[in-house]
């Protein structure tokens, strides 16, 4: 494999595709969020919101494909450490919210921000966020640390 002009051109193309994927994903998340907020008053808005989730998946896949190996490794490490610590926090929070241990106050405090949402929707949303959010935050914090260190 020689280092030639074709590869140089590919490098520029890769940078452009990475930028497009990043900004495309960010835009999709923003539009998705706006549609989801709107869907509380206009339920039909959930359909275009789902469409933007699909588009975001396409952009994210492109981003994953065009990352170089050092960047990919940073994401592996960030998921391994940040994600794992986040999962431990999820588990500890779940235990701390167990009504049998500490009365129902923990769950009631968690319920408050979800206001008008019915109990089933609240249970689904809170359960999903409790399981996923700490891992995602841990991953992002770890990745940001690696990114700053390698700059």
């Amino acid at each position: 494999m020689s280092v030639n002009t074709v590869e140089h051109k590919f490098s520029v193309k890769r940078e452009r595709l990475l930028l497009l994927s990043k900004w495309g994903s960010a835009l999709c998340i923003a539009i998705y969020s706006a549609f989801v907020v709107g869907s509380f008053d206009h339920p039909w808005m959930i359909w275009p919101a789902l469409g933007f989730v699909g588009l975001m998946v396409v952009f994210l896949f492109g981003w994953l494909v065009f990352l170089d190996e050092a960047a990919q490794q940073a994401h592996y490490i960030a998921w391994y450490w940040g994600g794992s610590i986040g999962l431990v926090i999820s588990a500890l929070t779940f235990v701390a919210l167990t009504p049998q241990l500490f009365s129902p106050t923990g769950v009631e405090m968690l319920r408050a921000p979800f206001g008008a949402m019915n109990d089933t929707s609240f249970a689904f949303t809170a359960g999903f966020m409790l399981a996923v959010m700490p891992a995602c935050i841990g991953y992002m914090v770890w990745w940001a640390g690696l990114w700053l260190r390698r700059r």
Binding site: V3, H8, F10, V12, E69, A70, A71, Q73, R149, R150
Partner: protein, 72 residues
Amino acid sequence: MNNRLRILRAERNWSQADLAERLDVSRQSVNAIETGKYDPSLPLAFKIARLFALSIEEIFTDDDNVAAKAAE
């Protein structure tokens, strides 16, 4: 893992961005390799070696090897 990438690059008056473009990686990756914060994969190490027309061992040295040579 130690390496001579910064020296080899400087000898050719290449910036990190120049080297990154030749290797088809990001400038941050070149910086991470030069500062020893990231060890490249074997395919990338071969690519670097080919670019500088050297063997991998002439560019990269593992810490154990350095310690063993120092002990000799």
